[in-house]
Structure formats: C-alpha cells, structure tokens
C-alpha cells in the first residue's frame, strides 16, 4: 500500500480539527461566562481558519469569502455583542454545572469516542478533505455541544452550547461538503446572527422578569 503524504493544507486541517475539539472540551472547565465567550471566539477563529485553508487549497473564492465573513461575525462582532450583553446583567456571571468537571469530561470523552467510532464505520474516502477525521470531529462537537446545553442550566451557557454546536456543523459542511451552495454558508452565518439577537432579547427580558438567566426558573409551561 502506498503511504499517503499529507499536503500542507491537509496537515493544517487535521491540526485545526483537533484544536476545535479541544476547545469544545475546554467548555466544561470554565464556569465564568466571559471565559466561555472567549472559548467560542477562539473556536470560531479555528473554523474561519479551516474555511480559508480549504478555500485556498481548492481555489474556491466563495469559501475564502465565507472565511472572511465568519471571522468578522463569529470572532469579532458576536463575542463583542455578547460581552456587552453580559456586562448589562452582571460583572461576573458564574454558571455552575449540574455535575463536576471531571465527570463532565469523562462523559464528553465517551461521546467523542462515539463520534469517532460512528465516523470510522463510514468508509467515506473519495475526494473529501480528510473525511474520517472531519466527520468524527463534526459529530463529536455536536454531541459534546448537546452535553454542555444539558449540564449548564443557564440561558447564556445554552446559547454558547448552541453556537459551538453550530460551529461543529459549519466545520463539517465546509470541509466535507464544499459544494454546498455559497448562499447556504452565508445564511448559516445570518441565522447565527439573528438567533443571537433573539436570544439577547429573550435573555434581557428573562433577566428583567426573574432577576436571573437560570433556565431552571422556567417552570411555567409544564405538562
């Protein structure tokens, strides 16, 4: 069997995929909201980077443009906006987890393993950019994102969980399905922006109504 030599672009993509996953796992370590926002910005930076990498490797101008837009929205605008929102609520928002960090990480590691095992079952080699690693990373980030949303009963943390989960799917879409129409990429960004604005309105009103953004207090609609 001929050994496969990684191109520089594939090497970058593989490294960034690993970093994306590490950032996702780091979400469990932090209990301070501003740190969670920073982690999201860092993860988004990696996603923008990989989008640029795939765009340059394939000579795809649409992906390069998408990388620039991703950087502008997810690395600069949204984190700044969310920081402003946090300052309006409190100077230091602490978000406890339902279970301790170690156990959270163990469950996250198990979910990551499931993501990798699932991806390994799919012999998808042809043409894609590091397919197995990318697919596994996408699935793992999605699974771990759900875990964050479940373990952190707080509106802000759940927004971050959704946004990182979306980062994972966006990463998968860019690396595995570069032929998805450019407009899909743009509208994904637009959706994220609008979703955050809706979240912001809701959080502001929730905080005003209930003096907290803890979703455990959302108990009006049951049954």
């Amino acid at each position: 069997m001929t050994p496969h030599h990684l191109t520089i672009h594939e090497a970058i993509a593989g490294t960034v995929a690993a970093l994306l996953l590490l950032v996702q796992l780091a979400l469990f370590r932090s209990v301070v909201l501003s740190e969670l926002i920073t982690l999201y910005a860092v993860q988004s930076l990696f996603v923008a980077g990989i989008c640029l990498d795939v765009g340059i490797a394939g000579g795809a101008w649409d992906l390069i443009a998408l990388a620039i837009l991703t950087f502008a929205f997810k690395v600069v605008i949204l984190p700044i906006y969310m920081r402003g929102l946090v300052r309006g609520v409190s100077t230091r928002v602490e978000i406890p987890s339902r279970i301790n960090v170690l156990l959270s990480l163990l469950i996250a590691a198990a979910l990551t393993g499931i993501g990798w095992l699932t991806a390994a079952q799919l012999p998808l080699k042809a043409g894609a950019f590091l397919p197995t690693a990318d697919l596994a990373t996408m699935l793992s980030i999605v699974f771990v994102g759900f875990l964050v949303a479940i373990l952190r009963p707080n509106a802000f943390a759940q927004v971050i969980a959704f946004l990182t989960l979306e980062n994972g799917v966006f990463f998968g879409a860019v690396t595995l399905a570069p032929g998805l129409p450019f407009v899909v990429g743009i509208l994904v960004l637009f959706d994220v922006l609008v979703a955050v604005v809706v979240f912001a309105v809701l959080v502001r009103i929730l905080v005003a109504l209930r003096s907290s953004a803890a979703t455990t207090q959302l108990q009006e609609l049951i049954g």
């Binding site: 799919l122 879409a173 998805l180 129409p181 979240f199």
Partner: protein, 480 residues
C-alpha cells in the same frame, strides 16, 4: 411571471409593506394577499396534477396546507390585532410588527415545499424558526417568552442535526457526483443505487431526529405544546397546520432517497418508532390538559404520529392516507385554533375550566370549535375520518396487524381526550359574567372559510387531488 414566483412575491411584498404603511391598510392587504396566494397555490397545484414539472407533486401536496392556512389566517389576523391591541394597549408598532412577521412567516412556509435543493431546504426551515420565534415573543407574556426561548433553542439544535444530515448525504454522494456537486434532490435520487449505504442510513436518522424535532415528533416534541399554546392564535394556527407539514416535507425528501438506496425497511421501522411514541404520549397527555391551546398542540403531536404511522405501514393506501392526513389536519387544526382564540378572548382565559357553554356564548365560533374538535377526533363526515381509515386499512392490508391494532387503540384514547374537552368547553349554558352573542366580521368569515375546506375535504376528494396524491406517493413510496 410564473405562479410560483407570484405565490412567493405576494407575502414577501406584504411583509415589507406592513412595515411601511399603516396597519389599517396593511391589515386588509394581508387578508387579500392571503386569499390571492391561496388561489395561486391551488392553480399551481392544478398544473402539477396535470403533469407540470414545477412544482413537482410532492411540493404541490405540501403547498396545500399553507394555502388553506394563509388564506384564512390573513383574514383572521385583522380581527386579532384589533382585539389584542384593545386588550393589552399595544399600539401601531405592535400591529405593524405582527403583520410584517406574519406575512414573512407565511412566505418562508411557502418557500420550504418549493425547494428541492437540500441545502436550501435547510436554510428555509431555519428561517421559519427565527420568524415564528419572533412572533411568539410578540405575545409579550412571561409564558410566551419561556415558550419562545425553548422553541428557538430546541428547534435550532434540532435543525443543526438536520444540517448534519445534509452534510452526510452530500458526503455519501461524493464518490458518484464529485466533491463539489450541487446537493439537488433529483441528482441524489438518480444516483441512489450508488450512494454510500451507511452514509445514507445515518443521514436519514439525523434527518428524522433533526427535522422531526421541528415536526413535533416525540420524543423531540418538548417545545411544541409551549410554543403552540403560548403564541398568538394566528401564529399557533400557522405553526400547527403548515410548519409541521413543512418539516414532514423535508423528512420525506430524505426518505425517498433512503427508500431507493436501502429499500423501505429502515425508514418504515424508524417511522414506526417515532409514530408510536408520539401517539402514545399525545393520547395520554390529551386526557389531562387544562389549557385549550395546549390541548390542541398535543392533538398536533397525535396527528403527526398518525402520519408517521401511515408512512411506516408502507402500503400504498396508507402512504396516500398519510399525505392526505397532513392536508386534513392542517385544515381542521387551523379552524380549531382560530375558534379557540375567539373563545379565549371572550372568556379572558385559556383554561378549559374557565370556558363553559362556548356555543351559547359565541354561537358561531363555539359551534365551529366543536365541529373542528369532532373533526380532529376523527368523526365523519370530516376529512380526518377518511384519511385515518385509509391509514388503518393500509396498515391491515400491509399485514402489520398488531401495530395497526395498537394505533387504533391509541387513536381511541386520543378520541376520548379530545371529545372530553370539546364537550366541556362547548356544551352547557353561558357562564355568568361573560357577555353572550356574536356578530359577523372578518374573523367569522375566516373561520367559515376554513370550515368549508374541512367539510369539503370530508365529503369529496377531487380527482385532481387524488391524482396529485398518487404522484406524490410515487415520489415518497418509491420502493415501498
């Protein structure tokens, strides 16, 4: 300009106009636009039944629920914004925002079934989530905020899984269609035999969970009773009648590919699982509801479970029944929500315990609510009776006797639940302190129009609709 362009352009233009012109002008324009759009959809569907390629039969079938609902909700909204403004003191800004968002939401609901590009389909569904969450928020109550919050969080996470499904399908086709192909449904269908089977299998599972969340299938339904219950009445009707159908449309596009690539076995088993869980859960929750709109929301989960069961049986009669059921449910449920909105406005409560003697208090709305309830419970001569019988007969025909019996039993439980609450709210004498009597107005005309559709679908299925359903069934059923 083609009919398709017109049916998208009307609500889009009205959404912009509602922001720019006073609501006293935008309101009647919305009513007129709703009716015109419905006429365009019916004309386009007649073309599809005659063999036109755009929209195809499956798209045409799923445009019908939107036609029924936008046509009636457009009229009803005029009364609703007036009543809401009077009750809460909301001013012109609220009216404009409500009309603009309602038209934009209708536009997005029309776009979804017209799309066959899998990426575009996902984007359109995500857009419906954003617009409808904004509408639910407009209600302004704490419960509405909580509902909007849960809705956007759960639906967006669900749709993220839907995008994973799109990506997985794309990856499964790379070896056949290349690594920069356009994710067009017809291309996938043509290449179905050569797609990576494991990839397609996983893509369908993610599609069913992701878009199934939006469709309100249990166990991903948690947002639905809150959003449908706490949202504004016209929005509840649009959510329950048209949006659930839109999500079903997306699932069916995936199912058609999976059926052809893998055979119908896997999709049928998964439809059975989610269908039976939905039916079971909804049937028992229906028995213990206290809120009239939440009761209708659980009824939606029940009916989506019936549709999933019909698709699971796989027999042509059952699949055709499932498609017809989506249309029947949209018509009956929108009528029920519109009438429930009138009742809760008059009684000043949504609690079933507070609404007594609905027919005596509001002779038209109360009667129409009772009739819509009977239709939703599955009684003749309404359309739901016909489609449920088709699904059950198809189930017995397919040889899945035990499952057909289980579905029948769960339907009986749900029947009891719906009838219990319809009887409690409609019968008896008017409650003291509540002013009885009702005059004709736009809301009544809207409900009478919706009732005419409910009744017509029960009395006769036009040959054009049968033709359309058969063509759509061929697309969905493929190998089933």
């Amino acid at each position: 300009m083609t009919l398709v362009a017109v049916m998208i352009a009307i609500p889009a233009v009205l959404a912009i106009a509602s922001v720019l012109v006073p609501s006293r002008i935008a309101g009647p324009l919305t009513a007129l636009g709703g009716l015109l759009t419905a006429a365009c959809i019916i004309a386009a569907d007649a073309g599809a039944a005659a063999g036109a390629k755009t929209p195809d039969a499956l798209s045409a079938v799923f445009l019908l629920p939107v036609a029924v609902i936008y046509g009636t909700v457009g009229l009803y909204t005029q009364w609703y914004v007036d009543a809401q403004s009077a009750a809460t003191g909301e001013g012109e800004r609220y009216r404009r925002e409500f009309l603009a968002l309602t038209n934009a939401f209708a536009c997005s609901e029309i776009v979804v079934p017209l799309l066959t590009n899998m990426g575009g389909l996902w984007v359109a569904l995500e857009t419906t989530t954003i617009l409808s969450a904004l509408l639910i928020r407009l209600q302004g109550t704490a419960a509405a905020l909580e509902a909007a919050w849960k809705y956007i969080l759960i639906a967006s996470c669900g749709l993220a899984l839907g995008l994973v499904a799109v990506v997985l399908l794309y990856v499964s086709a790379i070896s056949v269609l290349g690594d920069r192909h356009v994710p067009e449904w017809s291309a996938y269908l043509a290449a179905a035999a050569h797609l990576n089977a494991d990839g397609v299998r996983l893509a369908f599972v993610f599609a069913l969970i992701g878009f199934g969340t939006k469709m309100g299938l249990a166990p991903m339904h948690a947002w639905l009773p809150d959003a449908h219950g706490a949202g504004p009445t016209p929005t509840s009707a649009m959510l329950s009648g048209a949006l659930l159908s839109d999500a079903l449309y997306a699932i069916l596009r995936f199912a058609a590919i999976a059926n052809l690539a893998l055979g119908p076995g896997m999709t049928q088993i998964l439809f059975f699982v989610v269908g039976l869980i939905s039916l079971f859960l909804a049937a028992f929750f229906l028995l213990q509801q206290r809120d009239i709109k939440r009761m209708l929301a659980y009824s939606s989960i029940e009916h989506m479970g019936i549709v999933a069961s019909g698709l699971a049986f796989g027999a042509p009669l059952a699949v055709m029944g499932a498609l017809l059921h989506a249309i029947n449910h949209a018509a009956s449920k929108s009528l029920a929500f519109l009438a429930a909105g009138r009742l809760s406005e008059r009684y000043g409560t949504r609690q079933i315990a507070g609404i007594r003697g609905g027919i005596a208090t509001l002779p038209i709305s109360g009667t129409l609510f009772a009739l819509a309830g009977l239709s939703l419970a599955g009684l003749p001569p309404f359309g739901i009776f016909r489609s449920e019988i088709m699904i059950l007969a198809g189930g017995f025909q397919s040889g899945a006797w035990i499952l057909a019996v289980v579905v029948t039993l769960l339907l009986a439980v749900a029947f009891a639940g719906v009838l219990r609450w319809v009887n409690a709210t409609s019968a008896g004498v008017a409650r003291t302190g509540v002013h009885p009597g009702e005059t004709f107005g736009v809301a009544v005309y809207a409900m009478l129009l919706a009732f005419a559709v409910v009744l017509a679908l029960g009395l006769i299925v036009p040959p054009q609709l049968t033709n359309l359903l058969e063509r759509a069934m061929a697309i969905v059923g493929q190998a089933s």
